[in-house]
């Protein structure tokens, strides 16, 4: 499903070179869920962005569904993202000018895979039914978070990449959102790579890896 092989990434900043990832190897299979932990600034988001093809590694290669990202041209990479990936950002990145329902089905429509029944189902499951005409700024933080998750799942992706999807929520809401996310992931049988700070959130997932000093280590020997 998702394979990272010896991935390196260094940022050049005005203050000099900043190596963030130093040889990451990672494999994620269909239907599997993986929690990615690590302290702030350790490069979790960077890794996620590389996996999504939003950025390119300096060394190593990444493949999704057997396709090497580096061998794809930009339009093909965009198409792969559109058709197969679901992204939940740390800052939700909802489209402020579109209402709830249009935000929800945006990617599905772009991928020409809109499924009205599934959208309605998601809307109900996310607790956003009745708020279709609201604009993002009229939603609470948790609601926005749920909408972002819904948008990623509406396309029925084969891989869901989520960057701290519960980071902005209190513990109780976080639990609810997480439970919902996992249920929906199970329903669609997609693979899940989730970045989180919280061991509680990581617990229900199949596997856990920790990013430290640019390398992945398995905390459970």
């Amino acid at each position: 499903m998702l394979v990272l092989h010896q991935v390196h990434k260094t940022f050049s900043t005005p203050q000099g070179e900043l190596p963030v990832l130093n040889g990451i190897d990672l494999t994620l299979d269909q239907g599997e869920s993986l929690a990615l932990m690590g302290e702030s600034g350790s490069g979790k988001s960077t890794l996620l962005h590389l996996a999504a093809g939003l950025d390119v590694p300096d060394q190593g290669h990444i493949s999704i569904e057997g396709q090497r990202l580096s061998s794809l041209e930009e339009p093909a990479r965009a198409r792969l993202r559109r058709q197969h990936l679901g992204l939940v950002f740390q800052q939700f990145h909802l489209v402020p000018s579109l209402n709830v329902i249009d935000n929800l089905r945006l990617q599905a429509r772009l991928a020409q895979r809109e499924d009205a029944e599934w959208t309605a189902h998601l809307l109900a499951r996310l607790g956003l039914a009745g708020r279709e005409e609201y604009f993002p700024e009229q939603l609470s933080g948790g609601q926005q978070q749920r909408l972002a998750i819904g948008r990623a799942l509406a396309v029925r992706p084969s891989l869901l990449l989520a960057d701290e999807p519960t980071g902005n929520l209190d513990e109780q809401s976080a639990d609810t959102v997480l439970a919902l996310l996992l249920e929906l992931v199970a329903e669609t049988r997609c693979a899940l790579l989730m970045v989180t700070h919280s061991a509680r959130v990581a617990a229900p997932l199949n596997r856990l890896v920790r990013l430290h000093l640019g390398r992945l280590e398995d905390p459970r020997p």
Binding site: P75, V95, L106
Partner: protein, 830 residues
């Protein structure tokens, strides 16, 4: 997919209709003002082309040396002598209120093939009874007919005669009827007289004995004379186009910035960069088409409003006839569309470029963006410096050109000056703000206000640049017009020395002079005369040059009443010496001639007199505003006796107790003149002032509109930012700043910014005024004006700009006052 993307992009405007309005407003204004001026120009061009299709500009003309009018006998004599002349008869026909020019020609002898008359059957129909009346389709309305009825109709004119059957000829000028000379003679009741005898250009090398020959080339065509007038209009229109595009660019940039997250999200969700760029291009085209359609429609309306004034100006200033209904050829439509769309793409190119190179991941985006703006400021400074160097170069070039030349170079200079200053404005403001920030670091709120306006600068700078350009031009043009007005009114006072004037035909005026001198009530008669002469050579400081050119002559009576007041620009040894020289054998020349031929007092012109070529010394140069032609001035009696001139008018000084009404009646009883041939000086002044005001109507209108547009640009930019401003203010409120203070802060911030821009506009405006009065006007019209400045007008213009800025700045404050700041804090979450 592209449609979906486009729909997502357009959804932004549904939530921010203000930005859409601003975008369309910019496009609308840019295209409306541009297309209206182009419509006026196209119509005038069409009129000139049609006037040229007639003969007068392209043939040589013969007149009698003795000043008598031409008759058929002249024609027969010349034909018998074997000269290829053709007779022409011109007159006016009155139909109700309207006056039509009637031209009778003889198509068989008419020199060049101007397609009149026709050939074959058409020629026969033209030449034989019942003859034909050829006229342009527009003229039909005057005759009270519809287009369908017109062909073949024989309408009645005021003297109860019928016109020959009508035939439409679109290439003829409006309000002109052309027919065979025999038919015209019957209609005009002209007996034996002819108006002109014409020959093909160059057909005669020497005028026949007793005749005078005016060459075609010496009669400047209306197109040449009015060239600079149209150039001035085009320059103003270009200015409003640029200001409009500034707004468009500001609106596009703002919309782009607010949609950056959306664009990145779309890319992250799998929209290829190319599709995204194309969608934005498509969006631009949609707006472009809507904007240009709106602009064209209102541009044509505006042109329709302005055209009568322009036509009056052109006819009073240049005797160029322009029709009063618009004529818009196909290339006008295409041209306007291309200019608007091209301008839009130019303004949108930055946005397209950014969209194409969009980084999906933009961590630390605002920081990078700020760095980017610093880089942009640096580039602006460099660009401004380059343009300033160009401006200096052009100024040097101008200073080496002889005066009266370089209209295009001076427009280039003004453009470079404006652009250079506009480019330097944001770096300058930035520098001032930095300085302020350093000075104010102990006063937190003021410090914040400066830092905050510095953050807003990237968005505001375009509107500020547009405002600077518009303010400077407005100041420049209005002080030029105002200064001209003062000069002109003064000049009019000096030129119109006599309290009464009589206008009539020369044959009436000449006997009238003796009669007037015998009237006890009349203290003084001051006849003027007109004529023309061949200028054979001119000798100035740089040497002697021989030419042969027809120059207009003007005669005045050098009595103290006139010589005490008649305005002079330049003399060799003072006024009184100049006037005594004039009474001896010197001449004066007008400023237009001095500029065009680079002549000064002391130089010599050689004129052809009946006694042969004779040199005349130039004693003075006088201002002659409103006259497009060169002119030589001499005493009336010299002009009449030596140069075959005609009395053109008589100025009268009457004693205090004189009964003007009785004089008027006596004139009408004794001579073939209407009672209104005697006009009051005040009446002439009123008319001249009126013509003057109309001349600048279009300039004033365009000028005002441009400033209005710039104010709107600023207003719209501020409005578009109002929401974010509220958020900023709300967070200050959360930190404990009282609402009252918060309401005032934006006023200080923007007021200061606009004031800075306004202050910078003042020297720029003065530079523009100077270029206009000292270079462009001299080259375009032949007269130079003193530089006048109007501090009160400058103050009012500044105040207006300030008012707009404060009104716009007050908006977020008022909203903050009305709604709870907490609500606004919440809005900031997304």
């Amino acid at each position: 997919m592209i449609w979906r993307v486009l729909a997502t992009l357009l959804a932004h405007y549904r939530r921010h209709p203000g930005q859409l309005a601003m975008l369309l407003l910019g496009l609308w204004v840019a295209s409306a003002l541009w297309s209206s001026v182009q419509a006026v120009n196209a119509t005038a061009k069409d009129s000139y082309a049609r006037a040229n299709a007639l003969f007068s500009a392209e043939v040589d003309q013969l007149t009698r040396r003795d000043g008598q009018s031409l008759t058929r006998d002249d024609y027969l004599t010349l034909r018998r002598a074997g000269l290829p002349v053709s007779p022409m008869l011109e007159g006016t026909l009155e139909i109700g209120e309207e006056r039509l020019t009637l031209i009778g020609i003889d198509p068989l002898t008419l020199p060049n093939d101007n397609a009149l008359g026709g050939n074959g059957d058409a020629l026969t129909a033209f030449l034989t009874p019942p003859w034909q009346t050829q006229l342009a389709p527009e003229t039909i309305d005057v005759l009270g007919l519809s287009r369908r009825q017109a062909p073949g109709a024989t309408p009645t004119v005021d003297n109860n005669q019928r016109l020959p059957p009508l035939t439409l000829r679109p290439e003829l000028p409006p309000n002109t009827l052309v027919m065979d000379i025999a038919a015209a003679a019957a209609l005009l009741d002209s007996d034996n007289t002819l108006s002109q005898l014409v020959t093909a250009p160059g057909a005669l090398t020497q005028p026949p004995d007793g005749y005078r020959l005016s060459r075609a080339a010496t009669l400047a065509s209306p197109e040449q004379l009015t060239d600079s007038f149209h150039l001035n209009l085009t320059a103003l229109a270009l200015l409003s186009l640029v200001v409009g595009l500034f707004i468009v660019q500001a609106a596009l940039g703002l919309a782009m910035e607010q949609r950056l997250t959306t664009l990145r999200t779309l890319r992250a969700l799998g929209v290829p960069a190319f599709t995204l760029t194309m969608a934005i291009l498509l969006e631009l085209l949609v707006f472009g088409l809507v904007g240009s359609a709106l602009g064209l429609a209102s541009g044509i309306w505006l042109a329709g409003q302005l055209l009568p004034d322009v036509a009056t100006t052109l006819s009073s200033l240049y005797q160029a006839d322009v029709q009063r209904s618009l004529v818009l050829p196909w290339h006008y439509w295409v041209g306007s569309l291309v200019i608007t769309l091209g301008g839009l793409l130019l303004a949108g190119s930055g946005v397209l470029w950014r969209a194409a190179r969009l980084e999906i991941l933009a961590l630390g985006q605002s920081q990078a963006w700020r760095l980017g703006y610093q880089r942009q400021l640096k580039r602006m400074t460099q660009g401004g410096a380059v343009v300033a160097v160009i401006a200096v170069g052009l100024a040097l070039w101008l200073s080496r050109l002889p005066s009266g030349q370089g209209v295009l170079v001076s427009f280039g200079f003004v453009a470079a000056l404006l652009l250079g200053s506009a480019l330097c404005l944001p770096p300058l403001i930035n520098g001032v703000l930095r300085l302020l920030q350093r000075l104010l670091h102990r006063r937190p709120l003021a410090h914040w206000a400066v830092a905050d306006i510095q953050l807003q600068l990237p968005r505001l700078s375009l509107a500020m640049m547009a405002l600077l350009i518009a303010l400077a031009t407005n100041l420049g043009v209005s002080s030029m017009v105002g200064g001209f007005r003062l000069t002109f009114l003064d000049w009019l006072d000096q030129r119109l020395a006599a309290p009464l004037y009589i206008n009539a035909s020369p044959s009436t005026l000449t006997p009238m002079l003796d009669w007037l001198d015998a009237q006890p009530d009349v203290d003084e008669t001051l006849p003027t005369a007109r004529g023309s002469v061949d200028l054979l050579a001119e000798k100035n400081a740089r040497g002697k040059e021989t030419t042969r050119e027809r120059i207009a002559l003007f005669g005045i009576t050098p009595a103290p009443t006139i010589t005490n007041r008649w305005p002079l620009l330049d003399t060799q040894t003072g006024r009184s010496a100049a006037w005594s020289a004039l009474s001896a054998r010197s001449v004066f020349i007008n400023e237009q001639m001095a500029v065009a031929k680079q002549l000064a007092p002391g130089d010599v012109v050689t004129l052809e007199t009946p006694q042969g070529a004779m040199p005349f010394e130039i004693a003075a140069v006088y201002p002659d505003y409103g006259n497009p032609r060169q002119q030589i001035l001499m005493p009336t009696d010299v002009l009449v006796q030596r140069f075959g001139g005609d009395i053109a008018s008589i100025g009268l000084v009457v004693n205090e107790s004189a009964d003007r009404q009785a004089l008027r009646q006596a004139l009408a009883d004794n001579f073939d003149v209407s009672p209104d041939a005697l006009v009051d000086q005040q009446e002439i002044k009123r008319l001249a002032t009126q013509i003057f005001e109309r001349t600048f109507t279009i300039t004033r209108a365009l000028n005002g509109l441009t400033l209005g547009v710039a104010a709107l640009a600023l207003f719209a930019t501020l409005l578009a930012q109002a929401r974010e401003r509220q958020r900023q203010l709300a967070s200050l409120w959360a930190l404990g700043v009282p609402r009252k203070t918060l309401t005032q802060l934006p006023l200080y911030q923007l007021g200061g910014l606009v004031l800075l821009t306004g202050v910078m506009a003042i020297p720029l405006g003065i530079a523009i005024t100077w270029t206009l009065v000292a270079i462009i006007n001299v080259a375009a019209f032949g007269w130079r004006l003193p530089l006048y400045l109007f501090p009160w007008d400058i103050f009012i213009t500044l105040l207006t700009a300030l008012g707009v800025a404060l009104a716009a700045a007050a908006l977020p404050s008022i909203q903050l006052w009305r709604s709870s700041p907490q609500a606004m804090l919440n809005k900031g979450v997304v």
